[in-house]
Amino acid sequence: MSAVAAAPARRSLDREAWIARAAIAALALALIVTVALPLYALLSRGLESKAGAFVGFANYAAYFATPGVGRAVVNSLVIALASTVVTVSVAFVFAYGLTRSRMPYKGVLKAVALAPLLAPSLLPGIALVYLFGKQGLLKSLMFGQEIYGPIGILLGEAFYCFPAAILILTTALSLSDQRLHDAAVSLGASRWRIFRTVTLPGARYGLISACFVVFTLAITDFGVPKVIGGWYDVLAIDVYKRVVGQQDFQKGAVVSALLLLPAVLAFTADSFVRRRQVALLSARSVAFMPRPERMRDGLLFVFCAVVALAILIVLLTAAGASFVKFWPYNLELWLGHYDFDNKDGGGWRAYYNSIEMALWTAACGTAIVFLGAYLSEKSNRFAAGRMAIRLLAVVPMAVPGLVLGLAYIFFFNDPANPLSVLYRTMAILVISTIVHFYTVAHLTAVTALKQMDPEFEAAGASLGVPWYTTFRRVTVPVAMPAILDISIYLFVSAMTTVSAVVFLYAPDTALASIAVLNMDDAGDIAPAAAMAMMIVYTSAAVRLLHWLGTRGLARRSQAWRGR
């Protein structure tokens, strides 16, 4: 190659390298601004007086001296622990049935088990009020106990956290080696012994992981206790009251820091546990195939069917209550509860806002997350920037939505911050939602990228093709199923989320989930149920579209996957 011919190639190559560096730098910077700086603002605010002077842990001392605070801490721990025990035990048996039995209707049962993902956490609270409240159909089952309080919160959290536990546990239980079972059987081990020595150890890490995740979800959730908590104080409600009710941001920051603690602990323990799980299933393992067994399959089916029925009852109660005039006294079909424009809370505008927000979140979030994961995993330029992306991408997992929302107030509502123009706009709702759900999306993308041949980039480079061309022509098409999964996850999460955005919406950017909250607050429970169901319908419809779409896509553009 002559020097003359080499010159333009050189220039395009330099440009290619600079594009990679610039993209990495931009993403790293974006994550610093939207993750690191707001968290810093939050934590530092907890150490300042109202006037902004550094006061150390004085706010913490003052907070703990407040009457009733000890009770909120204890209540939160009790509820989170109880929810963890109940949810994980039920989910373990359910997941065992899905993965280790030959019971019928597995597909339907799994779909129902995951259905709570489609609803905001306010929905189970509302449905439980209808079922067990003062005029509840099943009030007699409460034996004189109140649903408003710990029992209601516990049931609501179990509903809300169930899908997360199911997802983790089915994955853990399906990672089982048939050869181990065959060996145990051939050695004459009893069924109980096999369960104890093969099944449980194999699923051990999944169980631990599920416990941590459920505990974190339950202790930081705000929707369920808000609707059905009654007099029972928990930390998540305390943050909300202090910030929204009393405008006491310092104390809010203190409680947030406290809420950050269990989440960070859980996250650290979980990532430690995950690291040890890797080698369980080697490439030579044989996937476990359960053999039919009438007794076991029958019992498991009954159990799973009862659980699924309970989940369906919760959803159907909310749907039913939204469609009749006055549950349960006047069951005449009526659409008046969907007349949101004549209620407080934002009206249909809130619903359309939610759709808009979810679309932006899915579109921008998927692009940013996937590009970030790609650059951090596959590029070899600007190592410090890639490291920053990798570290900051997993931080949001440990940050509860309420804490994130409050952190955003501190950071974006600061007049000295040029980014404060974003405050009270749709953009900040989209940004906070992307950040809130960043980690799961990022890890999904990373998993998909790691499954790809690590030499694709090298092969492209050796053929003289710039990285962004190979990214567009090979990486994105091959990862398309994962990209669609990420976009759906972000869309549905954006539709259902309450916790971060509750601090950040403005009257003209109210969201459907916030309308549910406000209508419930105002005593319009039936319209709240109706709006919650609008979210469920939308999420379900999008999931269905995604399912149909991926099937169609699989047939056409993914034709190369099959033989």
Partner: protein, 360 residues
């Protein structure tokens, strides 16, 4: 370059060093490759051969050292500018593109035009005996076909240097032998300078013009296959390439003592002190042996294994616990009516004995 050699070296690497953390993957590696030459990097896994290939390709930055191509320093050029084609162990065929799409991948920026590209793709696929498969996806091809598509994709932009990273290791034995011949024929025909990494000595011996045997991040010996096999430069090379008998011995000028026996060494051997005395199994002579033949050694046949083309005998030397492995032809065995348990006199020809210093 000094200009003394008739063929100037096409690729020259000098003083290449590379470590991953505390592990030194390459230590001061230097080598030159002539234009049109087929060079194999041979060594056990972890010896640094793949790292050296990736450094040459620009896929892995070296910590120190210089890479020159046609006299031009390319040490810091990125991969895309080094003008090489590479075939990876996994082939790294793009699964979502057809065979034609894969082969044409590096051609799109060469101003060939749509028809020109299609013609070039067809020509290349014909060349490796895969006409008409352009419309298929990689997953629809056999391992051997995928390998050839990867080869053709790497050759499509007519690179000056072809790099092959264990290209045959994922294939079964029969296909491997066939493709080996095809790669060699193709390389000859195109005259493209080629470097191949392999841990398979047979592959290296049959394919390469020159072999660089690597161990612990350094080149132990570089030479023609015959040189490597006949005159291994180190105990490691002797052991790694082919089968080698190793006896502990003490050398003293032209002779070596093994136990109570004294063996004559080839003329000009001046080594002294403790040594490993090495001989290949096929170099042990059993025919035409008399008591007076130089280096005749009496032994007993312990086992005699039929391996197909020859018999492999384990011989225990008389009056010691040293054993030798000897490859005997079927004719040797039947003519001399050899059987396990029988005494035998064998000759260890002086010119076939190799000495390597022994640590004591």
């Amino acid at each position: 370059m000094t200009g003394l050699s008739s063929k100037p070296s096409y690729l020259r690497v000098a003083g290449i060093a590379k470590s991953f953390g505390d592990v030194a993957a390459l230590k001061d590696v230097s080598l030159s490759v002539n234009e049109g030459e087929f060079v194999c990097f041979l060594g056990p896994s972890g010896c640094g051969k793949t790292t050296l290939l990736r450094v040459i390709a620009g896929l892995e930055p070296q910590d120190a050292g210089r890479i020159e191509r046609g006299g031009r320093d390319i040490s810091s050029l990125p991969a895309a500018q080094r003008d090489f084609g590479i075939v990876f162990q996994s082939y790294a065929l793009f699964p979502n593109l057809t065979v034609a799409g894969n082969v044409a991948y590096g051609l799109s920026r060469r101003g060939l035009g749509r028809a020109g590209i299609a013609a070039r793709v067809d020509e290349l696929l014909d060349m490796v005996g895969l006409p008409g498969i352009g419309g298929r996806y990689p997953a629809q091809l056999s391992g051997g076909q995928q390998q050839r598509v990867a080869l053709v994709r790497a050759l499509a932009p007519a690179p000056g240097l072809l790099l092959l990273d264990e290209p045959l290791s994922a294939l079964d034995a029969r296909v491997r032998v066939r493709l080996r011949q095809q790669i060699k024929a193709l390389q000859r025909r195109l005259g493209v300078t080629t470097i191949m990494v392999t841990h398979d000595q047979e592959e290296a011996l049959t394919l390469a013009d020159r072999i660089a045997v690597m161990n612990h991040g350094a080149i132990e010996q570089a030479g023609t296959p015959l040189e490597i096999y006949r005159r291994p430069a180190s105990r490691f090379v002797a052991d790694f390439v082919g089968v080698m008998n190793v006896l502990d011995a003490t050398a003293d000028g032209g002779t070596a003592r093994v136990g109570a026996r004294t063996l004559r060494l080839s003329d000009g051997t001046a080594q002294s002190g403790p040594v490993h005395l090495c001989i290949r199994p096929e170099d042990i002579v059993v025919r035409g042996v008399g008591a007076a033949t130089v280096n005749a050694v009496s032994a007993r046949i312990e086992t005699l294994e039929f391996t197909g083309p020859f018999f492999r005998a384990t011989l225990r030397l008389d009056g010691g616990d040293a054993t030798l492995v000897a490859d005997l032809s079927a004719n040797d065995v039947s003519d001399l009516t050899l059987a396990a348990g029988q005494p035998i006199t064998v000759v260890l020809p002086p010119d076939r004995l190799r000495l390597y210093p022994r640590e004591t």
